[in-house]
Amino acid sequence: MTASASTPPKIDHPLNVIVATDCGSTTTKAILIERVGDEYRQTYRGEAPTTVEAPFEDVTRGVLNAIAEIEELSGRKILDGDQIITPCRDDKTGVDIYISTSSAGGGLQMMVTGVVQNMTGESAQRAALGAGAIVIDVLAVNDGRLPHEKIERIRSMRPDMILMSGGTDGGAVTHVVEMAEYVAAAEPRPRFGMSYKLPLIYAGNKDAQPQVKKILEDKSALVVTENIRPVLERENLAPARNKIHDLFLEHVMQQAPGYKKLIDMAGAPIMPTPAAVGLIMEAIAKREHLNLIGVDIGGATTDVFSVFDGVFNRTVSANLGMSYSVSNVLAEAGLASIMRWVPFTIDEQTLRNRIKNKMIRPTTIPQTLDELQIEQAIAREALRLALIHHKSLATGLKGVQQERTISDVFEQQTSGKALIDMLKLDLIVGSGGILSHAPRRIQSMLMMVDAYEPMGCTRLSVDSIFMMPHLGVLSTINEKAATDVFVRDCMIYLGTCVAPIGQGRDGDLCADYEITWPDGKTAKEQLKFGELRLFPLGSGKQATIKVQPAKGVNMGEGPGTAITKDIHGGVVGLLLDGRGRPLRFPVEQQARVAALTKWFKAVDLYPELSVE
């Protein structure tokens, strides 16, 4: 399939049976989607190790193995030797289309350049991240590095692609041309393949296009597109993102082992995994008019997506993950931050050795309860750090001139204001092994609540078996199929977290609340500081909660102001979090362990608590 990513293919036959794969860095996951009556359902899944590298060096091997597993489980014949049978021949033979996403081989690694680091540099970074790339460096005229250091950096990195931006249309060309000269002097080489030219997208000041072409045309596979920052006040990221997707297919994937075959096998363009997940997140937010934060925590990286007031952002924390990068979570968060979530004591040396052993043997799983608790503690920190990273990039445009009136005298807002507002947040969506496969769903819910500290009323959900990438690419060819499966099989609503903002001594009044349950019964009680309470409220059920916060405590409408809200249930239920915001822990070790033990018991987090 060689269609451009920006123009989805036309399918001329009905799609009743679909097989989709996601080629991850470790595992290739396949799912089968079938039309059952009027709706689409995900019916079977299979997985196999990814085979991008030696000894196989052919990604399609892993794909065929994963599909073979679906064949075994479903009894449907999908493969004919190394070919996928399309379209369906009868009820038990073939599929109507095969589609795929990929992040194998380290995903799409890009380097971006701009003129001013926090203006065009950031815009270029947002464009690349939104297209599903990992940004390995941002170079800018004012990035603090000397010119020869910049050139050395470009030379030593081996990106899959470079995105160059800089300048507004009609502005000065000198700095953009200067960056082009540095890139040309470095003679950048691509990560895969010795003989092909590195794809380079120029999306800067249109007046500099002739000079940039002259400097870079012979040294790279240059593509020129619209400026990502035509004027200071506006970003225009879509043309650059589409070009990234096209070049990803045309150049980068052609070099990766077996991808030519994979592209031919697929009935729609292969998408980078995070780009597909981003599509799904955007679609949920748009369909339900929500502000959301989505996270996909993997072994090597953690992706964070957000949609606030219709503005989509994505970041990837390339070295925060639960296996390959687990040791980096320890390095970045520090031991104390991880240990604060562990309800027992363990000496530093033992814990450090355990974390390193997980890093060098990344496929192992916790076998004992204390190991599970340590992993979930690390996950909380990885999630927390990745959100901090996301908040720093999900901002309004910087460098924009603002008109001020007399009313601004008391409320001076700088440009580049953070877009993430936890009080406006409606939904948190979690995905990735540690969240999707936690033995108890409450564990996924509490990991996200502890890491993100949602405020007011926030709904939480998880991806049941990690199929968002598959559904993202499916949505480009059949929106209904993607939506049906997403609603019925993918998204598992956990419930709602109600968390007043404020601080108080343990046992002091945090809020009075009154819940009206779906059967009409009401419960009127008090939530104390330091308390966690969990009430069952099933999936699809709604209740109404009236919260009267104590003096100085806020539910989003101002200190002491009551709120009434409809809240949604889920497989976990309604969680009342009286631990205060921001979350604080007792300083003293014994008191901290006691507090954690109390919280964990209150929500029945683990089968038994191992307190040493």
Binding site: P49, T50, M194, A331, I355, R361, T364, I365
Partner: protein
């Protein structure tokens, strides 16, 4: 389930391996197909382009970028020496003359009339690619590199730091559970590959560095000692370029863990022989593990390279790779197919491992590795 495959580490007395030796950029291959080569022999050469130094002449001479060509004393492609005058202005009074010397020796790569920059490039540096192992050239890839074949004993470690080196194998301890202490080192170990047992404390690392050993092979170390050795906390296991004075290979993991008896026995049987070792580790889907290669010379007739394993079988020797029994070695005694609930409440595929004392335990399949080459 189709294929359940837990890759393990190879420890084998005789195998045939191929090592691809590739230049980072096109160059010249200097050996021929069929040549017998030694580890320190150069197999290919390339010229690494020199560093680039930009100088903004327009700013330094206070002239417009479009005018700088008028002030240059050299043109594109010219060779310049260090401190040689690159450009100068022509004032009426000599006192006001500004001369811009070249900060480096090299050639003038480009002159930009848009930015006023001149790019200077230092002379290229010659990069020599060594064979790394003794063996035979079985393939040459023009301009790129070669493939070396060798019949050898091979031990893969789990984690290492430091690059490729070689040296004679010296057994410093008597048993695989004996830790390597500073007292084990002496001056005869300079340039050699020293094998220890269960643990390498930081004092012993210091002593090894002082003696000047080429490499160290041990069961385990503490993470905090690694941090002290490197000077930073290693976040992601991509190594091979560290320069700590020696190449370090762990055969088991982090902590005090006796070296697997098979590994220890194999290395002992080759004491006094030359080994090529590399600490380079990359833990991703297609892993690179550190390795100890002990060439065996001729005799590989009809011997195939090791075949890829298809799965775990009853009787396979395995190592447990996760707490609480981390590092224990036993053999597979049962492979129940059904999912089993473990203490974390996860339902996973498990297997039964029998230890030498006859005791049996149930372990998730992902928490063992097969000791390959058995």
């Amino acid at each position: 389930m189709a294929h359940s495959y837990t890759p393990g580490l190879t420890v084998t007395d005789r195998t045939v391996i191929h090592r691809r030796r590739m230049l980072p950029l096109p160059g010249k291959v200097v050996v021929n197909l069929g040549d017998t080569i030694s580890s320190q022999q150069v197999v290919a050469r390339a010229e690494l382009p020199g560093k680039v130094f930009p100088i903004n002449l327009a700013n330094q001479l206070s002239v417009a970028p479009g005018e700088i060509r008028e002030y240059l004393t050299k043109k594109e492609g010219d060779v310049v020496g260090k401190d040689e005058i690159l450009a100068e202005n022509k004032p009426l009074i000599k006192w006001f003359k500004t001369e811009i010397p070249s900060p480096v020796a090299g050639t003038i790569e480009s002159v930009s009339a848009v930015t006023g920059q001149v790019l200077l490039r230092e002379p290229p540096r010659v990069l020599q690619l060594l064979a790394y192992v003794d063996g035979t050239i079985i393939e040459t890839i023009p301009q790129q590199g070669v493939v070396v074949e060798t019949t050898c004993s091979l031990v893969q470690g789990i984690f290492g730091i430091g690059g490729e080196t070689s040296g004679e194998i010296v057994m410093a301890v008597q048993t695989p559970d004996e830790p390597l202490t500073p007292g084990h080192f002496n001056s005869t170990m300079k340039g050699k590959v020293v094998v220890g047992g269960s643990f390498l404390p930081s004092e012993a690392m210091k002593e090894a560095k002082a003696v000047g050993v080429a490499g160290l092979v041990v069961g385990g170390i503490h993470d905090e000692d690694l941090r002290a050795l490197l000077g930073y906390d290693l976040g992601v296991a991509i190594t091979g370029t560290e320069q700590v004075g020696f190449t370090l290979i762990l055969t088991e993991g982090f902590g005090t863990i006796p070296m697997a008896a098979k590994t220890f026995k194999l290395l002992s049987s080759h004491a006094g022989q030359k080994a090529s070792i590399s600490g380079a580790t990359q833990i991703r889907a297609g892993v690179i593990r550190p390795e100890i290669i002990i060439p065996q010379g001729e005799g590989g007739v009809g011997m195939a390279t090791q075949t890829q394993r298809e799965g775990i079988r009853l009787g396979d020797p395995v190592r447990i790779i996760r707490d609480p029994l981390f590092g224990r070695i036993g053999e597979v005694s049962a492979l129940p197919p059904e999912l089993t609930k473990i203490p974390t409440e996860s339902e996973v595929r498990v297997l039964e491992v029998k230890f030498a004392d006859g005791k049996k335990v149930i372990i998730p399949r992902t928490n063992i590795e097969v000791i390959e080459g058995a």
